[in-house]
Symmetry: none
Subunit: 142 residues, 4 copies
């Protein structure tokens, strides 16, 4: 049976990633927090990225890492016990990181991608990533 | 004298990078070539990125490397003699790469950033990056 | 409008970086602390470096990392909560580090570069980096 | 006998490195070639560095690699057969590189350090590194 060998899965498209990115940028500008914002697919590959003027340049790396971690963990980033987060960072060659601001985009129980913001305070990063995720979820509603 | 210690220089903004990215995406769709497209600032830090549906996912890395190389070299990428390109890649820890498709964005003789496309045939990558660069240059014309 | 696409920004020159380095070296010798001293531009690229006789050689790396971190964070290094500093180091591929001794060079609210010292006790590193930064700020005063 | 267990060796000091750097900078400015210039000690650790305005920023890495390679090889860089250069780059984790512009500083048959320039054409890189090396050799003459 085909379903044993291959299965259909929902994938975030570039247009979906761009929609998330634009909504996150709009939120960042609304609350006046310059951010690095990254959107990845369910496999952790980068789909869309923006670094707004004034955002910390090293956060280009953490934005991508947070999005990859959220896609892999199937949950918001930054919620692991600290020591487990450190151990996981070592165990994954610094790919899995434990900072808030990364959110999976989950549809019908399936992770289709993830979005993260990095450069602001934690609540700002989370709110901005959330605005991006919510724009995708709203667009997918029947 | 102040001009010895610091100098004023033109910098590509995120809006400028987004303009370049959108023009490059439009060109990629017009000629039906899925691409990874990266825009960096003059110091090589990522400003904007898109991976279109169907683009090779490992080319996310080459798109960024090409853009950084173009910003550093102050010239189009992929024009070095092959052996020199290889030696330069080693010498820069794989940062400087010798593949076509990266173009500096030059205003009044000054590099303000760079754009690159990666995933297509060389002429397509170059045309798509060129569309992005030209959109910035056109917008900056008085 | 041009200001949306590109903006003018102040950049530390090599001469500015050399001025900072010389002032930091003078301070290090005055208080007899051998140091690694690094000056980077606003995008984190190395402009000037010195390792004084007797300075710890592995601190060549931490001096550069501290300067890059200060340029990115727009603030002095080493002031983050310890666990956040560790998580940020992982999240940025060890680029963002949480050790004192890195200071941004800020002119009119804009980061134009950063300087860091590494090898001494924290207060010495900070004083030596501060001497370098202050030399630039003094030279830029009208 | 002490000479079996430890030996006296001549070491380039920071002042020696700074002398080499200044002479190389003077040469680069004389022939109007913006460069990245690196000086390392006999063990390959960075002593002094300068990136002149307009020099390619990725060449910050190749300048350091060339200087380390010259110190290790005890000869000018870029003179190996191409394939051997590639194999050596792989074998050393990209530390040993095969591009001209790195010169050992040799006193009484002993390598006391090395200097390299990177960003210009090969003859310029070599001339500029040579000016730095020669300044040290001249200063050491009785």
């Amino acid at each position: 049976m085909m379903s044993d060998i291959a299965r259909s899965s929902l994938q975030l498209t570039y247009d979906g990633a761009a929609l998330a990115l634009q909504a996150a940028i709009a939120k960042a500008r609304e609350i006046n927090v310059p951010e690095n914002i990254a959107v990845v697919d369910a496999g952790g590959n980068l789909l869309a990225f923006a670094r707004l003027d004034g955002a910390r340049f090293l956060a280009q790396f953490s934005a991508i890492s947070k999005a990859q971690t959220a896609a892999s963990l199937h949950m918001a980033t930054g919620e692991l016990p600290p020591q487990f987060g450190v151990d996981l960072a070592f165990a994954t060659g610094s790919r899995s990181i434990n900072l808030p601001g990364g959110l999976p985009i989950v549809v019908d129980g399936q992770v289709i991608g993830a979005i993260a913001a990095s450069s602001g305070a934690d609540p700002d990063d989370i709110a901005i990533a959330g605005a991006g995720r919510d724009a995708v979820l709203a667009a997918l509603k029947p």
